[in-house]
């Protein structure tokens, strides 16, 4: 019995989410092999092979896999699936797109967003925006899982690299074609792995003020920037910064919520942060109920004062 962990990457480097999902995969107890699919992914495969506890890395390097579209990736994984008891991947947008397609093709009911491995066939996962935690057991001969990266620490690198072998890419599936991507370019840490996150809400009032207030504090703290759904819907911040039930789920050491009231859908994405700071001029904002440190003040006075205090 072996586990196949599908690596997520951006075409350049192995994402931190894969090292975190590896921790969950190893807890299941079977030997873990990592599949790296993509185009020109030799470096990424080498990085995967350096992770602790990996039995083998399998690489499918082909132009048809360049953007990890679900259709060709599913054909590849289904072709390999026979050899594995567990097929797992981090719950990133790429893998959330692909894994259910794979699960349906092998006729397995997927367990989404695993937050704890209870037993080799039993897992915890959040439902209702994290307001309930469900323990599910699978009695199927095969398991298909996505792992919530924020719930697991990243596996470290090992002294020795695991062997790397090539697998043939299948014929392209057809029907879907990559047209283009409009990706954020930022020198700040990634939301998913940042130690500190400064997040802005509707109270910022405009994209200009969001940039003028949130960005300097984030840069001073070496933090990633997040946003509430209200701020994203209003166009103050791009969609990839949204933290919440249906956006990114994060658990940094420090989460600073600026002008975020704390709708349950937002709390679902950040309430496992170690230390939560809430700054809001509405003293009754629900975010204060889960904040370790609450500052009842207008963020436009509080943030400059914080910058002063940090000097």
């Amino acid at each position: 019995m072996t586990t196949l962990l599908i690596a997520d990457h951006d075409g350049v480097r192995l994402g931190d989410a894969t090292a975190r999902a590896l921790t969950a995969a190893r807890q299941i107890g079977h030997p873990v092999e990592i599949l790296v699919a993509g185009e020109n992914v030799g470096e990424i495969a080498a990085a995967a092979a350096r992770l602790e506890g990996v039995a083998k890395v399998r690489v499918a390097d082909d132009a048809s896999l360049a953007n990890l579209l679900a259709e060709p990736l599913a054909v590849l994984v289904v072709g390999l699936a026979g050899a594995y008891r567990v097929i797992a991947a981090p719950a990133t947008s790429t893998m959330k797109n692909a894994l259910p397609r794979i699960a349906a093709l092998v006729d397995v009911m997927q367990v989404s967003e695993v937050t704890r491995v209870v037993a080799p066939d039993t897992f915890e996962r959040p439902i209702y925006a994290g307001n309930a935690i469900e323990t599910v057991r699978s009695i199927e001969p095969k398991l298909v899982l996505t792992v919530r990266a924020a719930a697991f620490a990243a596996t470290a690198e090992a002294a020795l690299s695991a062997p790397v072998e090539s697998v043939a890419a299948p014929q392209p599936a057809g029907g879907s074609q990559f047209v283009g991507a409009d990706l954020s370019t930022s020198t700040r840490p990634e939301l998913g792995s940042a130690r500190i996150i400064v997040s802005g809400g509707r109270a910022l009032g405009s994209a200009e003020k969001f940039d003028a207030v949130v960005a300097p504090l984030a840069d001073r703290l070496g933090a990633a920037i997040g946003a509430s759904r209200a701020a994203v819907d209003s166009g103050y911040a791009p969609n990839d910064l949204q933290v919440g039930q249906t956006g990114k789920v994060v658990a940094p050491e420090l989460y600073i919520a600026l002008g975020i009231s704390g709708a349950i859908q937002h709390l679902a994405g950040m309430k496992d942060s170690k230390v939560i700071v809430a700054i809001n001029k509405d003293g009754d904002a629900p975010i204060f109920q889960i904040a370790d440190y609450g500052l009842h003040e207008d963020l436009f006075t509080a943030v400059p004062a914080m910058m002063d205090a940090l000097r």
Partner: protein, 248 residues
């Protein structure tokens, strides 16, 4: 072109749910229910395609207990043309839903199926992808823009790093993300009109699908509670506390 829009009856997004004390599940007695918000966005997108002359008929499909018919009525009141209600009691998992929808698709032959990307009750985010897999169709998930162009659809997707655009050959499956559109409210005259629109009843048996759950729910519990901390009086005090706590 016909569009099928599956709709799910779920707990209203504004309700704070309660977990039963005995760990047997979430207490849904006397809780306000509504159409899954992502499905409302799916209905709205289908309506806009029809209003733009790119679709001819919109069929709303729901799988669930008797009360799921209310959710189909909501879709009809928004403007869908007719409904199909697959009557099923108890838990129906995404894989079974996808199989049931595949059977409906085989009968209806739509050019497009538009679904919500995730239901806000079980948060699985699986059904659309599974349906596309079973049909052998391409998929455009987490859509923030959908452009129909002859026998293709171009879907802009919300992904971790920003946006990605894919071009799919029809027929295809699209799942909706939050920024795709702002769903309309049903007007009173349209709510009245919806009462006369047809809803066909069917069952998993009639569709030839085994809808029994594959996963066993062992227990359901409350998440670890988070205690409210302290209020600080000033930004300077806040920075002090954070330094003491060793987080900055």
């Amino acid at each position: 072109m016909k569009i099928i829009v599956p709709v799910k009856r779920v707990v209203d997004a504004n309700v704070k749910i309660r977990v039963r004390a005995d760990g047997s599940g979430v207490d849904l007695a006397n809780v306000k229910m509504a159409m899954n918000p992502f499905d409302e966005i799916a209905v709205e997108e289908a309506l806009r395609l029809k209003e733009a002359g790119k679709a001819t008929e919109i069929v709303a499909v729901s799988i669930g207990p008797v009360a799921a018919a209310e959710t189909i009525r909501t879709a009809l009141a928004m403007g869908a043309d007719r409904g199909i209600h697959v009557k099923a009691e108890g838990r129906v998992e995404p894989l079974a839903v996808a199989k049931l929808l595949k059977a409906v698709v085989a009968r209806e032959a739509p050019g497009l199926v538009i679904l919500g990307k995730q239901a806000i009750d079980d948060d699985s985010n699986q059904t659309g992808q599974m349906l596309a897999a079973l049909l052998g169709w391409p998929q455009g998930t987490f859509a923030s823009k959908v452009v129909l162009d002859g026998d293709h659809v171009e879907v802009t997707r919300e992904v971790d790093g920003g946006l990605q655009t894919v071009r799919l050959t029809l027929p295809a499956v699209v799942t909706t993300d939050l920024r795709l559109n702002e769903p309309r409210y049903a007007s009173l005259p349209n709510i009245m009109k919806a009462k006369k629109k047809p809803i066909e009843d069917t069952t998993p048996e009639a569709l030839g699908v085994d809808a029994a759950p594959r996963l066993e729910i062992v227990a359901t519990r409350e998440p670890a509670a988070r205690q409210a901390g302290i209020k600080v009086a000033s930004a300077a005090e806040l920075i002090d506390k954070l330094k003491t706590a060793g987080v900055i």
